[in-house]
């Protein structure tokens, strides 16, 4: 089956004064219809840049230097700006992190709701309005007529995020990209918004790519998880595999740094050190300076991806033997 979105070996780099710096270094993933993929990682590991590359909305000095992005079988990387514009907001939509700043303060919610409809459909004013009301009701805002006439500053953060979701859904996209949609919200509102995205995904059959650094969010919504570190995908797997059987030391570190309220004895284990800079040259595995299990080999050679199970992959030398052993087992049987 052909997947909805397929990213192969994506390299996104930025032109800076020090030359070209790759922020995303060969990322591959795919999203099926009706599936939620969570991209997890520390701030600055290339999560957002990956999603912006898919949208074709990289900053002026960024460019996709290698790899391919296919959406519904169409290659996006070579598309002209005009053609990309027809996809954006229509087939592929995006929700942003800060609902406080992602709505234009000088226009009413209604005006902004009609923007995507104006851009991608030929509905007349009345139809647009009824569609806007329908959408706002769909995202759980009661009294939609009233909300349409309000300005963003008159709405609460949760309401604004709902409006953002409604705007993103206006043209029934088949892929929704959510860039930390709940980071700026209260925990209670967070749960509501996540439920909402989940429900809408089921109802509309969308694929969802959710970028987050919150493991709690991942556990709640993800079908599959992709862990990124310093521009690389270090581990991918289904949500059960990642949470119950994390393989990569970085994933283990991430999970260990999630507070556990049930266990009073539990002390948080932070991953020592910090994310390397884009221009830092690190030989071998980019995680080895912070890795408690680093060996000589890690310092010298960049590990390939090792298959652990059908969907579970880890980019760590530790699993070299495991896989080779397993493949040997397979060969024997």
């Amino acid at each position: 089956m052909e997947s909805l979105l397929n990213v192969q070996n994506l390299v996104t780099s930025f032109r800076t004064a020090d030359g070209k710096l790759p922020a995303v270094r060969g990322v591959s993933f795919s999203v099926q219809e009706g599936e939620t993929l969570c991209i997890v990682g520390e701030s600055g590991c290339g999560k957002s840049i990956t999603t912006l590359s898919v949208m074709g909305l990289l900053p002026d000095n960024g460019e996709i230097s290698e790899g391919s992005i296919t959406f519904q079988g169409e290659e996006l990387t070579h598309k002209k700006e005009e053609e990309m514009r027809k996809h954006r907001g229509n087939d592929i939509s995006m929700i942003f992190q800060e609902p406080m700043t992602a709505l234009n303060p000088v226009f009413t919610v209604g005006y902004q709701m009609m923007e995507p409809l104006h851009l991608h459909t030929k509905l007349n004013k009345k139809e647009k309005k009824s569609r806007a009301v329908e959408l706002l009701t769909q995202v759980g805002l009661s009294d939609a007529e009233k909300v349409l006439k309000k300005y963003p500053h008159e709405l609460s953060g949760g309401m604004r995020q709902r409006v953002m979701i409604a705007i993103a859904l206006a043209c029934n996209p088949s892929l929704l990209i959510a860039d930390e949609p709940t980071t700026a919200l209260d925990v209670t509102i967070q749960a509501q918004i996540l439920d909402l995205i989940d429900d809408l995904k089921r109802d509309l059959g969308m694929g969802v790519v959710m970028v987050t650094h919150d493991m709690g969010v991942v556990a709640e919504v993800a079908d599959r998880v992709m862990v990124m570190y310093a521009g690389h995908v270090v581990e991918t797997g289904t949500v059960e595999e990642i949470f119950e059987n994390p393989k990569h030391p970085y994933t283990k570190g991430l999970l260990a740094s999630v507070p556990n309220v049930d266990d009073e004895e539990h002390s948080l284990e932070a991953i020592p050190g910090s994310l390397p800079n884009l221009n830092e040259k690190i030989s071998g595995c980019r995680f080895h300076p912070r890795c408690p299990f680093a060996t000589e080999k890690c310092k010298e050679e960049d590990p390939p991806r090792f298959q652990i199970s059908n969907q579970h992959q880890s980019k760590c030398w530790l699993h070299e033997e495991a896989t080779t052993n397993e493949s040997r087992h397979e060969a024997y049987s």
């Binding site: 949208m55 229509n90 709505l103």
Partner: protein, 302 residues
């Protein structure tokens, strides 16, 4: 004025969607009026606008009508409360018609300057590639002293009020472009612009419909302040004989004509001088007041 405000009132009632925007205007106006100096300036501007709009009703004589028998009458003379000039023309009537000229030239040149400045500012702020080129061009315009540039343009185009408008508007372009560029640079970094792009909006649409409305406050302030400069420059150019040609009643030209009679009839220079001063002062304080009224941070200390 009264008609238009009544019309605006009607709009509020009929168009509920715009009522919020109207509210914003009313709010700004209320804050502006709280500032005593700005209120004073506003009154002067309103008086000038009324005089200019209904000049034939307020003028007691045609502005160019000569009456050599009654020349050089002083202030408070019978039938000419501001006196007459060396040709016996009524100073009050000329002042009233002069208000019309300076207002029209001011509005015309500011409007033209805004169109050019906003266009350049939007382009250079939004498109990084154009930024360098446009800003160097603007620097070039900045390098000339304003009045010299205006004189240069008039020397090329010939002396007339329309050319004065063009000259002054060209001179307003660089400042306006700089101001708009600054606002665009800060607005375009906002997440809602990225959100608009993620919806598939074209650059033109984003610029005109989303960036520009967020830059209106500094543009309004600039336009008001610039009116003062424009009126002053018109008077200066006319004084130098590059603007209004006789017998057109224009304040700068009136001063120029009156300077030969400074000792015998000082009111010929003083009266139009005061008019210029008051109007320029009024636009400046209103601009200042508007800047405070449109600044959302000011709410805290009120």
């Amino acid at each position: 004025m009264a008609d238009s405000s009544a019309l605006a009132q009607k709009n509020i009632n009929t168009n509920k969607q715009e009522s919020k925007k109207e509210k914003m205007v009313v709010q700004t106006f209320k804050r502006l009026v709280k500032n005593k100096l700005a209120l004073f300036g506003l009154v002067i501007i309103v008086i000038q606008v009324i005089l200019a709009a209904f000049a034939p009703w307020f003028a007691t004589y045609p502005p160019a009508e000569q009456d050599l028998v009654n020349s050089e009458l002083g202030i408070g003379s019978e039938g000419h409360w501001l006196g007459t000039d060396n040709y016996g023309r009524d100073v009050w009537s000329r002042l009233v018609f002069g208000a019309r000229v300076s207002l029209l030239v001011g509005i015309g040149s500011v409007a033209l300057g805004l169109v050019g400045g906003i266009a350049l500012g939007l382009l250079s702020g939004y498109f990084k590639k154009l930024d360098g080129v446009i800003m160097r061009f603007v620097d070039l315009l900045f390098a000339f002293p304003g009045i010299l540039l205006a004189m240069l343009i008039i020397a090329m185009l010939g002396t007339s009020l329309i050319n004065v408008v063009i000259a002054i508007s060209i001179w307003s372009i660089p400042t306006c472009a700089r101001i708009v560029r600054g606002s665009v640079l800060s607005v375009k970094k906002q997440e809602y612009i990225l959100a608009m792009r993620s919806l598939g909006a074209s650059n033109t649409r984003i610029l005109m419909k989303h960036v520009l409305p967020n830059c209106t406050a500094p543009i309004i302030v600039f336009a008001t302040m610039r009116m003062a400069t424009a009126i002053l420059s018109t008077a200066a150019l006319s004084f130098l004989g590059l603007g209004a040609q006789p017998p057109t009643a224009e304040w700068g030209a009136m001063i120029a004509a009156g300077q030969d009679f400074m000792f015998t009839s000082p009111h010929l220079t003083i009266v139009p001088g005061i008019a210029i001063m008051l109007v320029v002062f009024a636009f400046n304080v209103v601009g200042d007041g508007l800047r405070d009224a449109l600044d959302p941070n000011m709410e805290l200390d009120q």
